[in-house]
């Protein structure tokens, strides 16, 4: 756009009026081409925070075995079990979601994970008995 403006000015100096108006009209038509920062949601395909639905989980352990980063852990807690995901390790590859046959783990497009407290990076879900 700037190059076009410079051209228009040059033409104006040289006195070729008609062409100058042509260029200005072109600029007018093009309008603003820069976008504002798209801070809105990520696209649906974006792999962000995991969504775990404990009531669906069959406790098969396939997701734990599939995770290349070792981010998922299942631990015995009292009567029930706890599934924890560490975002300090998770690389958002989506393998856990793809191996889960009952879709208890799903990827969401939520990317708001920045935090001051490191403990927030561990997502713990209690499994119902």
């Amino acid at each position: 756009m700037r190059a076009a403006t410079v051209k228009a000015l040059n033409l104006a100096v040289e006195g070729e009026g008609n062409e100058m108006f042509e260029v200005i009209r072109k600029i007018w038509k093009t309008g603003v081409v820069t976008h504002k920062l798209p801070l809105r949601e990520a696209s649906q395909r974006y792999r962000g925070k995991l969504d775990i639905q404990p009531h669906k989980c069959k406790n098969c352990g396939a997701c734990v075995a599939a995770c290349p980063a070792g981010a998922i852990n299942v631990a015995q807690k009292g009567q029930g079990q706890e599934l924890s995901i560490a975002y300090t390790k998770c690389i958002f590859c989506g393998l856990c979601a793809s191996v889960c046959k009952v879709q208890a783990v799903q990827m969401t497009n939520d990317y708001h994970l920045a935090t001051k407290n490191k403990n927030d990076l561990i997502q713990v879900v209690r499994m119902p008995q």
Binding site: A69, T88, I91, A114, K118
Partner: protein
């Protein structure tokens, strides 16, 4: 998020930077052994689409000029000293952000003989931004969160 929230955040960030720093926020990027994906996302912040300069945020080539360090990678053994030196070279009050899963806790590699498994093992980290790599918007959110506690950090750093 809507357009309205976009501009709200824009104004909020600008005001906050003016409030804490008086002028603009200067960031030094430190690569401590990342795979470079995080670094590219950070570069994207200063392109015309994300255009972080409009908030008064700039990337500088020297830690001497920086208020904030964005550290990517899990701090490998070879880069540990460089990270320490960079931190010491930055002027007070300085603030460290861990960018990416590697910087937050080691990521894929974790803690090994060659890597420390996280920036917080070496430096005091103010904000963790997980993601492999995190989106530029997530980085921006992290920066905003860090500015939130800038004053507290300044006092603790000077003592």
């Amino acid at each position: 998020m809507s357009e309205q929230k976009d501009s709200d955040l824009e104004i909020k960030l600008q005001q906050r930077i003016k409030e804490v720093l008086g002028k603009s926020l200067h960031i030094r990027h430190v690569d401590s052994g990342s795979c470079n994906a995080c670094d590219f996302e950070m570069n994207a912040l200063s392109n015309p689409i994300y255009d972080i300069q409009r908030f008064g945020v700039d990337f500088v080539p020297s830690p001497r000029h920086a208020d904030m360090l964005l550290v990517t990678g899990g701090v490998t053994r070879h880069l540990e000293e460089a990270v320490r030196k960079t931190y010491n070279a930055a002027a007070n009050p300085k603030i460290v952000l861990a960018v990416g899963t590697c910087a937050c806790g080691g990521g894929m590699a974790g803690q090994t003989y060659a890597g420390n498994g996280g920036v917080d093992k070496i430096l005091p980290v103010a904000v963790y931004i997980p993601g492999c790599p995190p989106r530029p918007q997530a980085l921006l959110e992290g920066i905003l969160r860090a500015l939130d506690q800038y004053e507290d950090r300044g006092e603790s750093n000077e003592s």
